[in-house]
Amino acid sequence: LAKTTQPISMDSYEGQEVNITCSHNNIATNDYITWYQQFPSQGPRFIIQGYKTKVTNEVASLFIPADRKSSTLSLPRVSLSDTAVYYCLVGESRTGGFKTIFGAGTRLFVKA
């Protein structure tokens, strides 16, 4: 299983762009990179997923370099409600099943 490393916490201000980088040096060929957001006392919620290059949706962008050993989640113009824990996940897909390991995540604090 590919292990991920993220910063423990980050601070930002409303309206700023936030970039959270995740390292996954042992990513396998078939692995996808997925980011989740978790608010207190709730289950994590899917944000974005990618395999290589860049992916963008209405919430965020995901940048993945050619070697895929890292990825960066970009949140444009954050607001107070973006304060949450963000998890970088590198999934393992197996025949007949799938197993997911979450790391400690990055606690993002958005200030007014």
């Binding site: 996808y32 997925t34 289950g43 997923q49 999934g91 897909s93 197993k99």
Partner: protein, 113 residues
């Protein structure tokens, strides 16, 4: 659309008492099912996952067990709770063999006293 529900949402149990948390998924068939635990202020720890009825894999040795009596039902149990079993328990599901997007339930807060 698919939905996932788990219950109860909150419970306080004495040490040594049994535990049963139940989770059901609607709107899909043959999902992968998972139980995670999250201690206060910590990351998620995978406890069990299942790829089919009666097929359970345990990720960590512990005081808990899981069962999957039906395709979309996943149960987390304990015969005798320990203080260290306290935490936030999350049930989740994913589609088999199509990537790694996992969908989580609302969570269950367990306090063992």
């Amino acid at each position: 659309s698919q939905t996932i529900h788990q219950w109860p949402a909150t419970l306080v149990q004495p040490v040594g008492s049994p535990l049963s948390l139940e989770c059901t998924v609607e709107g899909t068939s043959n999902p992968n099912l998972y139980w995670y635990r999250q201690a206060a202020g910590r990351g998620l720890q995978l406890l069990f996952y299942s790829v089919g009825i009666g097929q359970i894999s345990s990720e960590v040795p512990q005081n808990l067990s899981a069962s999957r009596p039906q395709d979309r039902q996943f149960i987390l149990s304990s015969k005798k709770l320990l203080l260290s079993d306290s935490g936030f328990y999350l049930c989740a599901w994913s589609v088999q063999e199509t990537g790694n997007t996992i969908y989580f339930g609302e969570g269950s807060w367990l306090t063992v006293v």
